[in-house]
């Protein structure tokens, strides 16, 4: 079930919303949201509900175990065992075939024959996201950052909350703990406006901008070899804005939905294309992931507080390579992560020189570096990425593509919003009637676009 589908908007959401506000006790609200979230999740593949329930139960009991264990070694056991279970599940479903095929490929290169037992594994939607929820919960509980909850339904509500279940933001328990604790005192009208405002803006970003751009550039990405230089740049620029408005749109909708149920989800995007350096970009892009990677990987590796500069670079590279791999079982994602790792290392090395460059140039250069990175991210394999880069950086005559007018209009609007407008967390959402009317028209247009019948999943669902 997609947020941008009729069944969600006109059936699921009204039932869950009115049901939620008819219930007044905290635990019943947890149960209601949990059941709703499992229904939401089960519409993709009901069998994977059991997997999520298992992961939830393991993490919950680990948290309770940590509460009761006084022996540090037992506490550590309550961390290591469930985290290992979660990572094994993630590894099996997401990376098993990838690992097997990579090993087979390597063995073929080394002329060592090997039979690769590829399995027919379906990747459960959102597994990367809810696994991060459970792991962050257990690590935070172990570190004493949070007190694990004894209320199973509160925890299952946190893990499975439908608004952020399949594509984030990756919410840490401490970020919504107080809202969950006070769920019985939530005020329906308090965040109604801001919730709908977030939701409508997110919907418009996704349906009117990201999907319009996708309609033009997706066919072009299938035929990279025949693109002209201009066509190649338009294609990559298109993807740059498509992925931003697709994912930021989803995040806005998730935040809006959270508000409608009295739960404030954290910000996931802070105008990333306004970044003035690559480090700044990673403070603004998919913030919930980058802070998780920082807190649960980079800092435990030693972060920047290590004896040697080279160790900092090593930590950065490991973090970014694994961050890339988190996005999907494909070497192109690893390359994308590695590319950003190198950029971050270079920035650490030449940061002071970079700061002397005029601010506008910093922003343009950062944006261009990010755009080039998206080539690796979007390409299905290295040869497509290489072909696209070759088209971009050599003077190639070739075809443009149909739908150029639509693309240019969408790019113009997208660029204006991404580079110059305030983001959804910066605006006050205190709309004047005229603005409300314009927003409503945009929202109605998005609904009409959805009504035409072609469902468009969010890009980050695949991760």
């Amino acid at each position: 079930m997609l947020f941008n589908s009729f069944v969600f908007l006109f059936l699921f959401l009204p039932i869950v919303y009115f049901g939620f506000w008819r219930i007044h006790t905290k635990t019943r609200r947890y149960i209601w949201l949990t059941v709703a979230s499992y229904v939401f999740y089960g519409t993709w593949n009901y069998k994977f509900c059991a997997l999520m329930a298992f992961s939830t139960a393991v993490s919950y009991f680990a948290g309770v175990g940590m509460l009761e264990a006084s022996d540090p070694r037992r506490r550590k056991l309550f961390l290591i065992v469930p985290v290992t279970v979660d990572l094994l599940l993630l590894g099996f479903f997401k990376y098993f075939n990838f690992t097997v095929s990579s090993v087979a490929h390597l063995s073929a290169l080394l002329h060592v024959p090997m039979r690769a037992p590829a399995l027919n594994i379906i990747l459960p939607v959102g597994i990367s996201f809810y696994t991060f929820h459970t792991i962050s919960y257990m690590v935070d509980a172990y570190r004493g950052v949070i007190t694990p909850t004894r209320n199973f339904w509160e925890f299952s509500c946190y893990v499975s909350l439908f608004s952020q279940l399949v594509a984030g933001p990756i919410v840490r328990f401490r970020q919504i703990e107080s809202d969950l604790e006070n769920l019985d005192h939530a005020d329906r009208t308090r965040w109604l406006n801001i919730g709908w405002s977030f939701f409508a803006i997110g919907m418009m970003k996704k349906v009117l901008l990201a999907d319009t751009i996708a309609a033009v550039i997706n066919p072009a990405w299938k035929d990279v070899a025949h693109l002209s230089t201009l066509g190649a740049w338009l294609c990559v620029l298109g993807y740059t804005y498509q992925i931003y408005f697709d994912f930021a749109g989803y995040s806005d909708m998730a935040v809006g939905l959270g508000y409608l149920f009295g739960i404030r989800l954290p910000q996931n995007f802070n105008s990333p294309y306004k970044a003035s350096n690559i480090s700044d970009f990673w403070h603004r892009w998919h913030m919930s992931l980058s802070t998780c990677l920082r807190d649960y990987l980079y800092i435990p590796l030693g972060g920047s507080r290590v004896s040697s500069r080279w160790l900092v670079y090593r930590n950065l590279m490991i973090t970014m390579l694994l961050g890339g791999l988190w996005h999907g079982a494909n070497w192109t994602f690893v390359l994308w992560g590695g590319y950003h790792g190198v950029l971050l290392c270079l920035y650490r090395l030449f940061g002071s020189a970079w700061e002397r460059v005029p601010h506008l140039l910093q922003r343009i250069a950062t944006f261009l570096l990010v755009v080039i990175g998206w080539v690796f991210f979007r390409s299905d394999n290295f040869s497509v990425a290489a072909a696209m880069l070759a088209r971009m950086f050599t003077l190639s005559s070739g075809t443009l593509f149909p739908g150029l007018i639509g693309l240019l209009v969408a790019l113009f609007i997208s660029a204006a919003i991404a580079h110059f407008a305030a983001n959804t967390f910066e605006i006050r959402h205190e709309w004047k009637p005229l603005t409300v009317a314009v927003l409503s028209l945009g929202y109605a247009a998005a609904l009409l676009a959805i009504a035409s019948g072609q469902e468009s999943p969010f890009l980050y669902f695949q991760f």
Partner: protein, 389 residues
Amino acid sequence: MKDTVGNPGSIWSIGRLLPRLMLFLFLLDLCLRFVPLDPLTFRAWEAVLRHYPNAVGPFTPNKHYHRAESYGGVASIGNLPALRHYHAVDFTTDAYGFHNSPAPPQNHPIGVVLGDSFAVGSELSEDQTLSAQLTQRFGGYFYNAGAPQPLHLRSLQAVLQRLQLHHGLVVFEFLESRALQNPPATTPDGARGTFQQFVFRALGPDWTDRLGTPLNELHASPLQALSAKLEKKIQNDKFLPNSFAAFVIQEKLRNGDPIAFLPAEFKSPADPRQAAAAWAAYLAWYAEELRKDGLELTVLLVPNRTTVYAPLLAQPRDVSASLETLADLAGALQNASVSTVSLEPRFSREAALLLDRKKYLYFLDDTHWNGTGTAIAADELARKAGDAP
């Protein structure tokens, strides 16, 4: 950012306006479903088709649909205005919901045509359908009982009862691509579900029609049709690329005329012999059941459009799999003693002859046959009847 924003009580607050907008659109959509779909359609099929499973006739009863500029479904699916071949269509349905003249001849019919949209004559006016052509050639009235799927025996028997047809000819139009599907069960209700069987038997055909009609109205959404139309307008390869074009295969005939196919038209069964045997068994059973009622069944094997025109393309395509399927079907039916007329040889010959005159047996922008096709089919059936001992 402040936690509490705006005045949630004001009608101009977004938190109040957007849910109301959604409610308004929902109610609008619901109401529009009771408004005829005709103005939004480009052909009769979508405007008249009923969508509940127990109706005997597949279409809204006693309805007349007229469109001066109708065109083919393949051109519509591919959103290809340049490929459209406009033609006027008048499509009327009788009291039972079949594509017949509303005022049938006074005398009892001498035969019935059943089958799928080819038998219906989905792009044809009543005077061009197969049943109309047969009426002209046999000198007696043939009733058109064509439906999206050929009628199961019990539904056909209900029609025959209403027509008071106790002996005569039943023509079963069988399109080549039907061999891709498994035949229904050899029971009067075919593959109908248990609940459907129960409803159909308990209420009878009249009441299932009456009760189903209001539910049918809810099926089609004019709002959705309108937004799909808008989307197709925008996807004109200038403002947005035409994503629908990928759903069709565009080709050129030897004479230079463009023709569009659906990929499904090129498909053949993986095991034609097995498919032929299964269908022959079903049709033999069907013929036997009809024989008990004094009716004779003749199966009319209709080739796919691709089987006839793929060899006539500027770059011809191989149709040996299709020819094998049709030959296997004809052979299996003959072995099962089911009277059969295979149109492929005559159609292929006529199509080649007519090509230079830019005349066709099928529409170039639709999967179905045209009036020329039905006329030749009726000739072949008449010839077969004349040859009969």
